[in-house]
């Protein structure tokens, strides 16, 4: 079987998080995004550079998903959350805490884990 091609800068970004070197893309006016970006959608700046992703973020919203897609069938129930890292927000799976105990504003760190269903890599948040 042919190995699937990597998704360019997305997989490189996951590699960097795995190596504790997470980053985000910042434009000349301080707007933060996740790669790949060639232009800032907010202000049109094309002067983009990689900046270190802050060490921790705050959960700004979360959900416990019980009806999953086939790709997450064995993961369910699982928690998906958006965490605010300051210049950029990231979506990830919350692990290391009971789903019922996930709280708004909780401080989390970011790492790369695996989907239980498929073994594919996924962004994972753990309480700090």
């Amino acid at each position: 079987m042919t190995e699937p091609a990597p998704d360019g800068q997305y997989d490189e970004w996951l590699d960097a998080i795995e190596a504790d070197g997470g980053y985000y893309v910042e434009c000349a006016n301080g707007h933060g995004w996740l790669p790949p970006r060639r232009v800032c959608p907010e202000c049109g700046s094309r002067e983009l550079r990689d900046e270190p992703l802050p060490d921790s973020g705050d959960i700004v919203t979360h959900t416990t998903i019980t009806v999953a897609t086939p790709q997450f069938e064995d993961d369910a129930p699982y928690v998906t959350a958006i965490a605010d890292f300051g210049p950029v927000s990231v979506t990830g799976l919350v692990r290391g805490v009971d789903p019922e105990d996930v709280e708004m504003g909780a401080v989390v760190g970011i790492e790369v884990g695996e989907r239980e269903t498929t073994g594919d890599r996924a962004v994972v948040f753990r309480p700090r």
Binding site: Y10, T63, I65, T66, A68, P70, V90, T91, A122
Partner: protein, 388 residues
């Protein structure tokens, strides 16, 4: 050029028709629309057709010409894809072509076949309206995305699952007389709250069903309608469309839908009206929280106030501002690519008095249709008015 008229519309029974092909569903709706309008197929200048997941559900791309053929029309046909706002985008293009004189008659519509692949695969297909790299791979489903928005709304403005339940109860009640509706079953607030959770805080009754169905409408210039003695009192007087970042994580506010704000502002300005003039609204309630976000973006309610509208009885058929008299996506059903035109048809029928819930607004002359794609990264708003 004057405002385009809704000359006729057709909608299939929404529901579970796993064995019916998309082309057959659309043929039923399209032929019904042509018959209702009394327009000869030879007069149709174009078909603008909405469909979201045809490749995944039916292994069928390139549906434009297929659907033109299915309704006996030999005209250029193009498929529009803007997730759940696909048909709204199709309507907008038709309105522009009719206004600028490039067409006299356009069939707009859409179809979606969904139940044939089962709930799990349909959930998977719906998820691709989100950002695959940064959302879907983090487990986000379509209900999950709206659950994230709902929790953010509760956090910022208040409200509760009970308020959302009142929306479901209202829309189920509205659908009881709608023969096209997928779900014609009265429910209680308790039923909704006690239903199984899909993605907390949203439960089964916060969610629209998975639906097979099609809708179509024949739009003409006012001049064509007059020249052909077509009784078409309802005009599309305003069109607007707005966009936003695809991924929720990239938006500054998770409990507002600025794409809909922009679409509404443009459509109202286009029609020369304001939200205070609106008598009735069909809005995109794929989940109960979506109705709240929609009525706030439409300016019918202030931010943080829309959550109480159904609880207070203001948006039911006896209220000041009836919303989703069809039953909405919640009870009528949501065949994704057809929804925008099904909404348009509902508003036209309410305004011309032929809808079974038209008695909610006997003197209504202005309606809006709000059609949102994904987590409202695409939205169209259309204003419909009764003209002499």
């Amino acid at each position: 050029m004057s405002d385009p008229r809704v000359a006729g519309a057709g909608v299939t029974k929404f529901g579970k028709h796993p064995e019916r092909t998309g082309r057959d569903l659309f043929a039923e709706a399209g032929l019904e629309a042509l018959d209702a309008a009394g327009v000869a197929p030879d007069d149709v200048d174009a078909l603008y057709y909405g469909n979201f997941m045809g490749e995944l559900a039916e292994h069928q791309g390139h549906q434009g010409p297929l659907m033109a053929e299915a309704i006996g029309v030999d005209a250029p046909a193009t498929r529009f894809e803007a997730a759940c706002a696909s048909a709204g985008a199709a309507v907008r293009s038709a309105v522009r072509d009719l206004r600028n004189g490039e067409a006299e008659v356009v069939v707009v519509g859409g179809a979606e076949r969904m139940t044939n692949i089962g709930t799990a695969a349909a959930t998977d297909a719906l998820a691709i309206a989100a950002d695959d790299l940064y959302e879907v791979r983090a487990g986000m489903t379509f209900p999950g995305a709206y659950a994230l928005m709902a929790r953010s709304y509760f956090d910022q403005y208040g409200g509760s699952r009970e308020d959302l339940a009142h929306i479901a109860v209202k829309n189920h009640e509205h659908a009881l007389v709608n023969e096209h509706a997928q779900i014609q079953k009265e429910i209680t607030v308790e039923d909704a709250i006690e239903a199984p959770t899909i993605a907390s805080p949203l439960g089964l009754y916060d969610s629209c069903p998975i639906t097979d169905g099609a809708a179509a409408a024949v739009l003409t210039t006012a001049e064509y309608a007059a020249d052909h003695d077509i009784d078409a009192p309802v005009a599309i007087t305003g069109t607007g469309q707005g966009g936003d970042n695809l991924a929720l994580q990239d938006r500054p506010h998770l409990a507002q839908t600025p794409a809909a704000d922009k679409a509404a502002e443009e459509a109202y300005g286009d029609a020369g009206i304001g939200p205070e003039d609106v008598d009735v609204a069909e809005v995109h309630d794929c989940f109960t929280i979506a109705e709240v976000l929609a009525i706030e973006s439409l300016g019918l309610y202030e931010r943080g106030e829309g959550i109480h509208a159904a609880t207070n009885g203001e948006t039911d058929r006896h209220g000041e501002m009836p919303v989703n008299l069809s039953g909405g996506l919640k009870a009528k059903g949501h065949p994704v690519g057809a929804t925008g035109v099904a909404q348009l048809a509902t508003v036209a029928w309410v305004l011309d008095g032929t809808h079974p819930r038209a008695d909610a607004v006997p003197d209504g002359t202005v309606g809006v249709a709000h059609n949102a794609g994904g987590t409202v990264a695409s939205t169209t708003v259309h204003v419909l008015e009764v003209k002499a």
